[in-house]
Symmetry: C2
Subunit: 546 residues, 2 copies
């Protein structure tokens, strides 16, 4: 097995499983680099290691429908030859995603139910119900010739889930009794003591909010938090509010969840966002996208008074019913300021328990270990410090009865009946996807953007005679995003002479090699800028044949 | 009074106070935009409103020595005619800063003690001891013809401060009894219920850490947290560890604090960082800079094994004894991963109370209001949502006996005996300072850098004949940080023809106006890029006279 993402980072959760000549992907997740990040929208795992053997992926097994587990499917589609297995909700979300990419998935998506098994090469894959922050999630047990390997996916123990479908602990215990070779388990919340809460815990906090709110109630949540949406809808019915789903993602996910029976909104309780203004403020609940401060999402537009249908007025209450993903805090802060300016009250999980995490905390992780009692344990899903902490927790909890294996993305983990170990590694990484279109951003482009962002660009025009030798005539200088103070101004004035000297100093052969000449001038002038101005603009020499 | 910074934002705390023909600055703070922010290191308040009247600043009054209260002094130095008032520690930190900028402050820094008064024009300024996260902090009472205005600076009620100098609540109560026209108070922690802790609370958490740590103990803190440093030194002496201060800022601030008697490190307990490796791990405490994940600070270099003298080994304990400033979470996360990789234990304030805030919480803020009982209250120091919350807290606490005035940076607040109100506004903003040198980054440069960061740059060469008309010859294209996929490639190939058409379409007069021509091509081509590729590179046309 080779983790291709999610091990040593949050997101892009993807594991390659190879048994004899069959390679599966266990999840195919994307990662979001956060707002304002050099025009990169998305990272997906690099599958180039498959090229070593010329192999394709013969099946994809998905644990649940979150972006960090399914978001890469459209981008790795061309490498997949066989079926995509998942529960109905997971596959409905994948289908919608493939559709948006114009990919025809006819017949390739194969629905499985918890308890079922499918076979791919020498591996039998068993799906086991787990609870998480959305319905229809599974862990998988890979029954391999070397033994059984359990991969938890994302999970928590919610003993009282809103859909009445608890985690299948009996089956995990049974596997534990039969003997499990290895356990791969989610490390996201290992740094939190105790137990993850139940979705039911949030219901109480919202009762208080529904009771006291006199204005509109606007709740921002992830559209995939279908339990949360259902709970809000039920409260709205009880407290006499109509429900408007605001934001395309919210409506699209709700539509899928309703179709599959995971969400029920009584028609009489539902209104369109364009009709919100026709109701009294205390008759409306808006469930909106944009809890992370995304500038184009519904909540940001509402807060900026730029939404066509919904506005915030004094007395309204805006609830952030989601955690703030690290890196988004500033954007969320700006959004909250905009909301406060409109006179609304803001509630988040620092004020009231309006959110519970979907990931197991320390005591839950110990419970999972105690159920499965693996011979070998591999912490996954998290940055290095979380994996290290999970390894420590497992070591203490299992009293040395379980071997702990710390791995990172790209490590090739081999198993035999006795246990697992790292056998070298394969090249991995994130393939960066540019906004709007499907272009890949390679490392060089990203480095250039970083330099441009911090220092701007200086374009140097270099007129070269037809003979390839520098001709009389000054290189013109054009800058953008570059700060011109006294020192920089003097340097720009000298630039033509400096460039001329660099060209004169070039070996004879280089003067007719424009690429080499450009590189010489770039490196030389960037050095001069750093030394004399302390700044590091990107220098872009442009040779003009005259 | 006009807030020039810090009201509607965190940082850059600066207030202009004008009485008849005298203008003072109350603090002159800087703001740090966070890591990786378009090469901008620092923002300082814009004082251009002074130009309206041709006035200079006749005095600066400083409440304490934090960067967000003194960091702008070197940058506004030229606008200051009179003295800079502050306590000894505050002024020693300012002197060190001015010195680093090569500014001779001879005789301009005037030391005051709590309880003292100085006069500037029609205003008498009284300094009142407050407690905060560093020693020698004051609030000020401005005794003006219209009445007394109290400005808290940054404060908390630490009834048991390490230096035995509590907040002068009796004097504030006295002022309250005499009648206070207006109170301006710190809103930083208004969203936290209860009371801010005492520095003494942290001592207990560290006792447990000193007791159980078998390896090196490395504590990251702000160098200005002198109480924290003193407490750590005292613990080290008690637990038999030598103290190394690692990081230039840490050593420089400690040197100033020692000179002024705020810090005592027994010579026998102190070692140089280069000697750390000569001691057993359990004999060493390193107090280091870099708690915010700054890549060049001591802790980041130690964690990357790139520090010349200090390394992290398995069994060491690294403590983050500072809060994570919003926006720095990702950098701090990366740093913690590096530390975990070296096998050290990490402790932060989510695990153990190794940090207390220096700012008053909700109940403390009510206590301040109850002491001062102002006729008018103005919340300051915080983003809008915190100011709004503080206004709400004050309204409820004072039962409508105090008028609450919500203002933002630039609002001109007028007072007479009856109260205060906003009388128009002046232009304000942050002057952005480029790294390394003192260059100012204007808004246009920042906008260009944002565009460069997200989309890269496309340079278009436009050869123009001597007559000003476009000549035959193709504009060459050079890109950097730009993603070239199929669509973009096709567009770049067409670019020469598109540019030629734009030039042909230009009105006659424009063809000889190179600036207008460049702007026409830039706007036109950026539109084409957006439409056809969904991307927004910065287009930089360069005209070559041929």
């Amino acid at each position: 097995m080779v983790p291709l993402g999610g091990v040593g980072q949050f997101g892009m959760n993807t594991m390659a499983v190879t048994a004899s000549d069959t390679t599966l992907l266990l999840d195919a997740g994307a990662m979001f680099p956060g707002l304002d990040h050099y025009g990169v929208d998305l990272a997906v795992p690099d599958l180039s290691f498959l090229e070593e053997t010329g192999r394709q992926v013969s099946a994809v097994v998905l644990t649940h429908g979150h972006e960090d587990h399914i978001g890469a499917v459209p981008y790795v589609w061309d490498r997949i030859e066989g079926p995509i297995y998942g529960t109905p909700l997971t596959l409905a979300l994948v289908a919608s995603k493939l559709d948006a990419h114009g990919i025809d998935c006819a017949g390739r998506l194969v629905t499985v139910a918890p308890g079922e098994r499918v076979t791919a090469g020498a591996v039998e894959i068993e799906f086991i119900r787990v609870t998480h922050s959305m319905p229809d999630c599974v862990a998988v047990a890979l029954h391999t010739p070397a033994g059984t390997i359990v991969h938890t996916g994302d999970f928590k123990f919610d003993d009282d889930p809103l859909d009445g479908e608890p985690l299948d602990a009996p089956r995990l215990a049974e596997l534990g009794n039969e003997g499990v070779l290895a356990l791969f388990a989610d490390s996201t919340n290992v740094a939190r003591a105790g137990h993850a809460g139940s979705e039911q815990d949030v219901a109480g906090a919202f009762e208080e909010i529904f009771t006291r709110t006199r204005g509109k109630l606007i709740v921002a949540a992830f559209s995939s938090s279908i339990y949360r949406v259902q709970m809000l809808v039920s409260h709205a019915v009880r407290y006499g509010r109509k429900v408007a789903l605001v934001g395309r993602g919210m409506r699209r996910t709700a539509e899928i969840a309703e179709r599959l029976g995971h969400l029920a909104i009584p028609p009489a309780a539902r209104i369109r966002d364009r009709d919100v203004s026709r109701y009294r403020a205390d008759e409306v609940l808006c469930i909106v996208t944009g809890s992370q401060g995304e500038p184009l999402a519904a909540l940001a537009r509402i807060a900026a008074d730029a939404h066509p249908h919904v506005r915030i007025d004094p007395g309204d209450v805006v609830v952030f019913s989601a955690r703030a993903i690290p890196g988004n805090q500033r954007a969320i802060g700006r959004l909250k300021n905009d909301i406060a300016r409109r006179g609304a009250d803001i509630v988040d999980d620092t004020i009231s328990p309006v959110h519970v995490s979907g990931h197991a905390c320390e005591e839950d992780l110990k419970r999972m270990l105690a159920l499965v009692r693996p011979r070998c344990f591999v912490p996954i899903h998290g940055e290095y410090r979380f994996l290290a902490r999970h390894a420590q927790v497992a070591g203490e909890a299992m009293n040395g009865q379980t071997a702990v294996l710390m791995v990172e993305n790209g490590d090739r983990i081999g198993f035999d009946g006795g246990g697992g170990w790292v056998q070298g590694s394969v090249p991995v990484g994130g393939v960066l996807i540019d906004n709007a279109h499907s272009g890949e951003v390679d490392g060089a482009v990203l480095r250039e953007r970083r330099q441009l962002a911090a220092g701007g660009v200086v374009v140097l025009l270099i007129p070269l005679g037809a003979q390839g030798a520098a001709r009389a005539g000054v290189p013109a200088v054009t800058t953008s995003g570059f700060v011109i103070d006294r020192e920089a101004d003097a340097l720009l004035a000298e630039a033509p002479a400096l460039v001329q000297r660099m060209i004169d100093d070039a070996p004879d052969g280089e003067r007719s090699d424009h690429a080499a000449l450009r590189e010489r001038v770039r490196a030389g002038m960037e050095r001069v800028f750093r030394k004399r101005t302390g700044r590091n603009p990107l220098v872009l020499p442009v040779i003009v044949e005259t």
